[in-house]
Symmetry: C2
Subunit: 254 residues, 2 copies
């Protein structure tokens, strides 16, 4: 009886979504990202940087980038690990993510290199960029914010919320949205509470949305449907967090 | 550059919003609620029951009811305290709210009486009703859910989340959304964690949205703007929680 409809109205007609492999460097490391945009777009648009999950840049991030491009954003899927460095199994993925999680300065340098490269792209308004990330990428965009990067907002989906340097939250210029699976065994309550304290103490503009019955990876269909494994897809939490992100991006990107 | 617009499209043209005082009884107590609807509406619509803050039914709930009527819902502002029983100062309000918070069976009876009355109204689809509440009213709609009431969803805004009978969560048929000020001194972390455990243990379909820098009464302009008082208006949290509620109602009310 009552229909809720929402739409993102771009300033140009919708065209074809283009995927462009792009290379950029962080120090001596060559990274290979993916630039995604609607080719009907002329001139700079608001930009969304996507930080990948623990396996590195995969079709999952490409899919999210396409969704964002279709609603009018220019997207860069970042490559934190470097060209050709991808994991195809959990053991290698864990080792790779662990390397960067235990070297936050390197993690910050890699994601900032992606941001700097993205900001110079002619299809992006350099003052209108947000960053989102899934799982390891959630941790990554939070570290991006803690590094003091000039981004309008960051969104973490089922990301790790801890940091070895909570005092760095004072550097945060971005608005922060954390979408959290309330049953995520990899992000326990102690970590959630520490994150809230970190944000509170630094007077960050933050929100934390907790989705009941959702565990780690709740946005990723590849995670299967068995909550008892600690990581599983949850359609309700996926849809709700995506809508929350859409509203957040509309709020922080003018 | 990018415009986010959303609309609720009612099945009839918008007319004038009507406010009708209505009487109903709970046992021997006469209650005086406020029915609110758009007079362009013909036939039953999805309904939203509103549970009031600690002072009783005031212009605040009327204002929220009007907002909901304008987007197509039929609304009943419930009267938990009974006809003529209203507080005009915090001391009396605290005593009144305290009476019902320490007598949950009575609280449940009162809000269920409002729901039963509302369900029989010709302007309401009896199978498409949700309930929302602010502050004391948040506690009230959560108790409504715990009573096993047939409602599609309940939304608490800065409501107390505790209950003397957490095991009753097994009765909950509604989806539950709690919008919480992360700095609310009246709803401390221990209570938030207990609520989450209650919801989790009973396998309720729930969400808890925590808004940073928001304290108690964050949706109410009458609360002023001084967070140090423990209750204050917060425009960002007000707007975000209202949008979250709109999406939630659109999800649970077909």
């Amino acid at each position: 009886m009552i229909l809720l409809a929402s739409f993102l109205c771009a300033s140009a007609l919708h065209g074809k979504v283009i995927f462009e492999k792009v290379e950029y460097k962080e120090a001596d490391t060559v990274c290979e990202g993916l630039l995604i945009y609607d080719d009907a777009v002329k001139g700079p648009r608001s930009g969304v940087l996507i930080a990948h999950q623990w396996k590195g840049l995969t079709d999952y991030e490409k899919m999210r980038g396409e969704m964002l491009a279709r609603i009018g954003y220019t997207v860069l899927c970042a490559d934190v690990y470097g060209q050709g460095v991808r994991a195809d199994n959990p053991k290698d993925a864990s080792a790779l993510a662990g390397k960067y999680k235990s070297d936050r300065p390197l993690l910050r340098a890699r994601i900032n290199a992606a941001l700097d490269f993205f900001r110079k792209n002619e299809r992006v308004n350099p003052k209108q960029i947000a960053a989102i990330g899934y799982c390891f990428g959630g941790t990554t965009v939070l570290e991006l914010a803690r590094s003091g990067a000039e981004v309008a907002g960051v969104v973490s989906f089922h990301g790790g919320l801890n940091t070895p340097t909570p005092a760095d939250a004072k550097n945060i210029k971005a608005k922060v949205l954390a979408c959290h699976g309330a049953d995520d065994p990899f992000v326990p309550n102690t970590e959630v509470l520490a994150f809230q304290k970190e944000m509170r103490d630094a007077k960050v503009e933050w929100q934390l949305l907790s989705y009941g019955n959702a565990v780690h990876s709740f946005t990723d269909k590849n995670a299967g449907h068995d909550n008892s494994k600690g990581a599983a897809y949850n359609a309700a939490a996926d849809a709700r967090s995506w809508r929350a992100m859409e509203l957040f991006l509309a709020e922080v990107l003018r």
